[in-house]
């Protein structure tokens, strides 16, 4: 409807200012300016986390796992948020926890997207037996309880950080596979994909150049959600004793180590849990807004 100004396709003599590459930043800014407060809140929180994660060694007042005081020192004074059960500075561990937990969750999610997304695209484009085989394999993986299977696999492989990332990424990639396959199927039928095929383009080009850019919005949104789920899975594993090993600060085991305090109304264990919740809330806010922007759901 708003296209009326372009109805005529007669060549326009004087080109209008081009929305070229230079103005992309301006466009992003324009979109951001119109973002709702929740999205802003989410973006700021995510930015803050990234800043803290990157700058942990400079920001933290004390080293990650050094004992710097007595156990359970109160808040304020030398230790802003007190100390934990061993006398490590809570604030420093929270800061390093951002780096470890967020970093690991991020790597895991990336890996699961590379794996699930790549296979999903291949299944959608190729169809046929490849699609069938991958689809069935994913069915099988999804019908095994994820957390318990992760526990078993980690027992077999040993719970190193690399194994943790790989195991969770593989198990989680099933969901990514399903999503990317279904959204890619919507794009595969498009004429421009057919045009690329008719041109004689090979699978990687079609995947990367024709399909991927068009399924990015739902994938990015899913990335945010999966990131949260991976985050929660890792903290659940830590809770069950198979997560990130000490003395690395990670929020899941920090909650678990101090959980007993909750029953006495002490908020210390709430801090790492709150940090988890805050980040996932922030990511979800941004994802929500992003989905809203890209799905064209108006009104």
């Amino acid at each position: 409807m708003t296209e009326s100004a372009h109805t005529s396709d007669r060549p326009v003599a004087a080109a209008q200012p081009l929305p070229g590459r230079r103005s992309r930043r301006a466009r992003v800014w324009r979109v951001l300016r119109k973002a709702p407060p929740t999205a802003w809140f989410g973006l700021i929180v995510i930015g803050l986390y990234l800043f803290v994660a990157v700058g942990a060694p400079w920001l933290a007042p004390y080293p990650e796992s050094e004992l710097v005081g007595g156990a359970f020192e109160p808040w304020g004074g030398q230790f802003l948020l007190g100390t934990d059960q061993l006398g490590r500075d809570m604030l420093s561990r929270l800061i390093y926890g951002a780096r470890n937990t967020v970093g690991i969750a991020f790597l895991t999610t990336m890996l699961s997207f590379l794996l699930g997304g790549g296979l999903g695209l291949m299944a959608a484009i190729s169809g046929g037996w490849l699609d069938q085989v991958l689809g069935r394999a994913v069915d099988v993986l999804m019908s095994i309880p994820q957390l318990i299977f992760a526990l078993v696999l980690l027992s077999i492989l040993g719970s190193s950080i690399v194994n943790l990332i790989v195991v969770i990424a593989v198990l989680d990639s099933t969901r990514v596979f399903r999503l990317s396959r279904s959204v890619a199927q919507g794009v595969v039928v498009m004429d421009y994909v057919e045009a690329a095929r008719l041109r004689g383009e090979k699978l990687p080009w079609i995947m990367r150049r024709e399909i991927l850019p068009n399924i990015m919005p739902p994938l990015v949104a899913e990335f945010g959600l999966r990131f949260c789920f991976v985050f929660l899975t890792i903290s659940a594993l830590s809770f069950l004793g198979l997560g990130i090993k000490p003395p690395t600060a990670d929020w899941g085991s920090m909650v678990r180590d101090n959980a007993a305090l909750i029953t006495y109304g002490d908020v210390t264990p709430l801090l790492p849990a709150g940090a988890i919740a805050l980040l996932t809330v922030a990511v979800n806010f941004v994802v929500d807004w992003f989905l809203h922007k890209t799905s064209g759901l108006r009104e």
Binding site: H6, T7, D9, K34, D191, L198, R199, N214, R298
Partner: protein, 556 residues
């Protein structure tokens, strides 16, 4: 016969004013900025009168139609003016008042009946929903009345069709069922929003006839919205031409057709005036020989099809949806390997499947699609779209590639400055030009054009067709032109292939195919194309009554 039809329509008594729209202003939201869509339109409709609203896409026709019900779509708002229906100002009335009018006193018939019927309920339930809700009739009475309406709308099996689900009924029948649904409460006003645009021409005739009759029988006022002047000429007492949300001119139907005042109005049927001198066929570049094809193990979509395209010529393939036109294109390109038969290109048989063809073969046959929106990757700039085939087939990069792109942009009559744009920043016609440039970038010998103009407005169609013809003259490229639109066929083709249900019904030079005597299907197809004559429909129906068997193919 002509006289009777005229008198029956002329005899309609026009009553007092039913609907009065004054200075209507409607805005639409785009990127959170409100921009005007309708800018001060006035409209008056008397009881029993049919007003045609005509204009290209973006003219604001549908928006005005919905505003006549006091309704604005999501993302739109009525920002000024008044809509007075039978003394009630719909814009200031309460939600409840408006809601109660809708479906009872003002009804709506949408463009796509298939999408507008709820797939979860049977037709009859949906037909009688409004009157049951308002308690006008008992369920039994309402059902009886609905069946009666189905009868009048000449739906097949009127007793039973209501118990079907929407997906079990064909498009033309759904459109009539939707008209029945609009009629159940005997409204004073019906808004018809392009009710036949999505239908084949042969089906369109039936629906038009049914709608016209029932509107007359119940003496209902109507606003008939369409982009097709020939169609509206059959339906409307008066016609109003819209452009950019403004009224261009308004006149009684006959007056509008014979002596339009505005240049713009004349341009609306400009494509019909395009013509091409038929060129005799030369050596064949493409021969489709006895091809039979099917999807999976399902029924055959093509049986024993033979088509020849002479070099440097345009062969038009016509037929309605489901006739196998597009499948023919898929078979030629190798997307759908045929079960039997051969594709001979430049005297050599092509491998059946796409994978077996080499890049040079692929280069020589290019394709242009119906919907430029889906044919262009929305995430690639014009530069990437046109540049890729140059790079892919010719291996050109850098300055050479850019020079070639610039050359192609000139060929399609577009400025170089467009190369950095994304398809979303182009109009429909511009997108289609980019598609043409992409095909030309491969330097093909044959271009398959699959309904390349049917998604475009008339005026834009003309531009595209002229471009294609010019390119043929300059570059000597051959076209296989798939379309359902006879006017387009007239404009561009040298030879015509008529297809029906997967078979070739008739094939030959344009003048031969278009002049009688015709085989029955060609006759039906040609006669169903609306003409700029207000009496065309009346006359056609009368003619067909005399030869009832000709109609059978159309009632689908």
């Amino acid at each position: 016969m002509n006289e009777t039809a005229k008198s029956s329509r002329g005899a309609r008594t026009k009553g007092d004013v039913l609907l009065e729209i004054r200075n209507l202003q409607i805005e639409g939201e785009s990127d959170e900025v409100w921009q005007p869509i309708v800018r001060g339109v006035d409209l008056t409709l008397k009881r029993g009168e049919v007003l045609g609203l005509i204009g290209e896409s973006g003219a604001g026709k549908s928006t005005i139609g919905l505003a006549a019900m006091g309704y604005a779509r999501g993302g739109c708002r009525i920002s000024g003016g008044s809509v007075v229906f039978d003394g009630i100002d719909l814009l200031t009335a309460s939600d409840e008042t408006r809601r109660k009018l809708r479906g009872t006193r003002i009804a709506y018939v949408a463009q796509s009946a298939a999408a507008s019927f709820n797939p979860a309920h049977r037709l009859l339930e949906q037909t009688i929903e409004a009157e049951l809700r308002e308690g006008f009739r008992t369920k039994a009475e309402a059902e009886k009345d609905a069946i009666e309406l189905y009868h009048r709308l000449r739906l097949p099996n009127p007793e039973e069709i209501g118990f079907r689900y929407p997906h079990q009924v064909s498009g033309g029948q759904l459109q009539r069922a939707m008209t029945a649904m609009a009629m159940t409460c005997r409204p004073d006003l019906i808004i018809f929003d392009e009710p036949t645009t999505a239908l084949d021409v042969t089906t369109q005739v039936e629906v038009l006839a049914a709608i016209r009759d029932i509107v007359e029988q119940f003496h209902t006022a109507a606003i008939y919205i369409t982009h097709d002047l020939a169609v509206v000429a059959q339906m409307a007492d008066r016609i109003k031409v819209l452009r950019y949300g403004k009224s261009v001119e308004e006149a009684p139907t006959r007056e509008m057709l014979t002596s339009p005042r505005e240049e713009y109005t004349r341009s609306l049927w400009s494509v019909r005036k395009l013509g091409k001198q038929e060129q005799p066929g030369g050596e064949p570049i493409l021969q489709v020989k006895n091809v039979t094809a099917a999807y999976g193990n399902a029924v055959r979509v093509l049986s024993d099809v033979t088509v020849t395209v002479p070099r440097g010529r345009t062969v038009a393939v016509v037929g309605e949806s489901g006739s196998g036109k597009s499948t023919l294109a898929r078979v030629i390109t190798g997307l759908l390997p045929p079960i039997e038969g051969q594709i001979i290109f430049n005297g050599k048989a092509l491998p059946r499947a796409l994978k077996e063809r080499n890049a040079d073969t692929l280069r020589r046959i290019q394709m242009i699609y119906q919907m430029p929106d889906t044919a262009l990757n929305p995430r690639q700039t014009v530069y990437e779209v046109i540049g890729r085939p140059i790079e892919f087939y010719r291996g050109l990069t850098g300055a050479k590639k850019e020079a070639r792109i610039s050359e192609l942009m000139k060929l399609i009559e577009m400025d170089d400055s467009y190369v950095d744009r994304f398809p979303g920043e182009l109009s429909g016609g511009q997108k289609q030009r980019i598609c043409i440039a992409r095909a030309l970038a491969a330097e093909p010998e044959l271009i398959i054009c699959d309904e390349v103009t049917s998604a475009l407005d008339q005026i834009v169609q003309e531009g595209i067709l002229q471009l294609l013809m010019r390119l043929q003259r300059e570059l000597g490229v051959s076209y296989l032109f798939i379309t359902h639109d006879i006017a387009t066929v007239r404009a561009i083709s040298d030879e015509i292939v008529v297809m029906f249900q997967g078979r070739v019904v008739q094939q030959g030079p344009k003048t031969q195919v278009l002049s009688p005597p015709h085989p029955p299907y060609t006759e039906l197809l040609l006669s169903s194309v609306p003409e700029m004559d207000p009496d065309w429909l009346t006359n056609l129906l009368a003619r067909r009554k005399a030869q009832p068997e000709a109609m059978k193919a159309g009632d689908r």
